[in-house]
């Protein structure tokens, strides 16, 4: 098979194993993976900030950043430099320990969720057999970080934003989880690798009939809500809460919240791409051997990032099109629409799987 990363990774592992004790092998591998994750996070945040601003500009018939570097590509770098140089200020009446801890929790969770995502064939940090379950469990921890930030800031805007964020993430976790279950039922496994492998003949969004399509739409809506992005940015709500839970944050700590938001956006889109759009699997049409063969020549990593960036673009498209929901409309949407629909949808999928109607 072309472009298999497991050859490279096993080579590194064997070389390390031959030169160090098992403990140090593991340690070195941890360090390597950690450095890679940090690098990915920073790089993704830089790319997304630039992409977001350009997409927003084009949707509003503007030009966007175009002064720093050719076509403004160094704008995000300049922004980061500015944030690094700023004073890390914490309010006098805040709870200093929790205030400083909160951004690290949010950032750590954002990085942890990256672990079971298969970026390409053999390029995965942690092949865990309950990958999807792990993601939905770990991603909920970020609520604690957000609530901590809101409470420790000792400011009414922060607290209100954090409470809203808590209510929102807890509610939308349900319909996101239920739409993930649809794919778990179809693929018959929770492991991310198995789910990707089960889409070798076709992506679930095509193979799973209408229920998979409904699950995909619900997943994207619930994912946008979990990210606290517009039209669900109740937690920030500039016009009513200044900046929500990170009102009091400055400099690098603010940058960490910001980075965590973009890394989470990447994660949600990567999960969506893996579950519904086949992850790193190329686009195949059955009975078109020549076409399928050409598609195989595009590296899996390009497929994965292409699908993920497409979903990210869709989420940005939402942000710059729809107005913000009110908090009661937000909860109505979840509890009266998405949740019952995804429950019915789940039963339909169970029926399809039991009767073997899917391809």
């Amino acid at each position: 098979m072309l472009y298999d990363f497991s050859i490279l990774t096993s080579k590194i592992h064997n070389w390390l194993f031959a030169h160090c004790s098992p403990f140090w092998t593991m340690m070195f591998e941890f360090i390597m993976v950690g450095v890679c994750v940090l690098g990915i996070c920073v790089l993704l945040a830089l790319i997304f900030v630039y992409m977001e601003r350009k997409v927003a500009a084009f949707m509003q018939i503007r030009l966007g950043p175009n002064r720093v570097g050719p076509k403004g590509i160094f704008q995000a770098v300049a922004d980061v430099l500015k944030l690094v140089l700023k004073e890390g200020f914490s309010p006098r009446t805040s709870d200093k320990f929790l205030f400083n801890l909160a951004p690290f929790i949010v950032m750590t969770v954002a990085m942890l969720v990256l672990a079971p995502i298969p970026f390409a064939k053999g390029l995965q940090m942690y092949d865990i057999n309950i990958g999807v379950f792990y993601i939905s469990a770990v991603s909920s921890i970020s609520v604690i970080g957000i609530l901590m930030a809101g409470w420790a800031s000792n400011s009414k805007y922060s607290l209100l934003g954090a409470m809203r964020s808590g209510a929102q993430i807890v509610s939308y976790e349900l319909s996101a989880g239920l739409s993930i279950i649809v794919i778990v039922a179809l693929a018959g496994s929770m492991s991310m690798n198995d789910i990707v492998e089960s889409q070798r003949t076709g992506w679930w969004i095509f193979k799973g009939h209408i229920p998979a399509l409904i699950a995909f739409v619900i997943f994207i809506i619930a994912g946008t809500a979990e990210l606290n992005r517009a039209p669900f940015d109740m937690a920030e709500a500039e016009s009513e809460l200044t900046a929500g839970f990170h009102t009091e944050y400055t400099g690098m700590r603010f940058a960490m919240f910001f980075m965590a938001e973009y890394v989470n956006m990447f994660t949600v889109c990567a999960i969506g791409a893996t579950l519904f759009l086949g992850g790193w699997m190329p686009f195949h049409v059955s009975n078109f051997e020549g076409f399928n063969h050409i598609m195989d020549f595009v590296p899996p990593i390009v497929w994965f990032f292409g699908k993920t960036f497409f979903l990210i673009f869709v989420i940005m498209w939402f942000r710059w099109t729809f107005p913000r929901l009110r908090i009661d409309q937000l909860l109505t949407l979840e509890w009266k629409y998405l949740m019952p629909i995804s429950l019915v949808n789940m039963i339909l999928v169970a029926l399809i799987v039991i009767m073997g109607w899917h391809f």
Binding site: V55, F58, M59, I61, L63, T321, F322, Y337
Partner: protein
Amino acid sequence: MQYIVTYIGTIFRALNSLRKGMKLTGYYFTHHKQIVTQQYPENRKEMFIGERFRGEVVLTHDANNEHRCTGCTACEIACPNGTIKILYKNVVDTETGKKKKAIDEFVYHLGMCTFCNLCIIACPTDAIVMSHDFEHSTYDRKPLNKILNKPGSKLMKGVED
């Protein structure tokens, strides 16, 4: 039963309205040739400025170096923050030989101006207008205190009648 029909109807109407919004922004995204923002320092020559743009107050002079300001101080009274100050001098009318008041200096403090346009509205003789010149930044405060009437200028004939 009726409830279920309305429920499903709401979902489809909601999806349709979302599709409409996304269609419009998608159209803008794919047709980004019709940019509305102007690239200011580069397009100084062919820059478009709207008719009602308020750059600074100017006293219009014609080719004979004559203006239309009678010195009635309506603008000075109308100004909310004391931007305009009119100083007088006595001149002798060449035809009738009478002494009368005329403006000596039309002082305009650009640094204090909020470009509210009230002076232009107040002016009974349409002597002052807002120009489109907006590049006012300086390193010193002094150039912002302007005298609007040109040296040697005088009142246009027939304005006071």
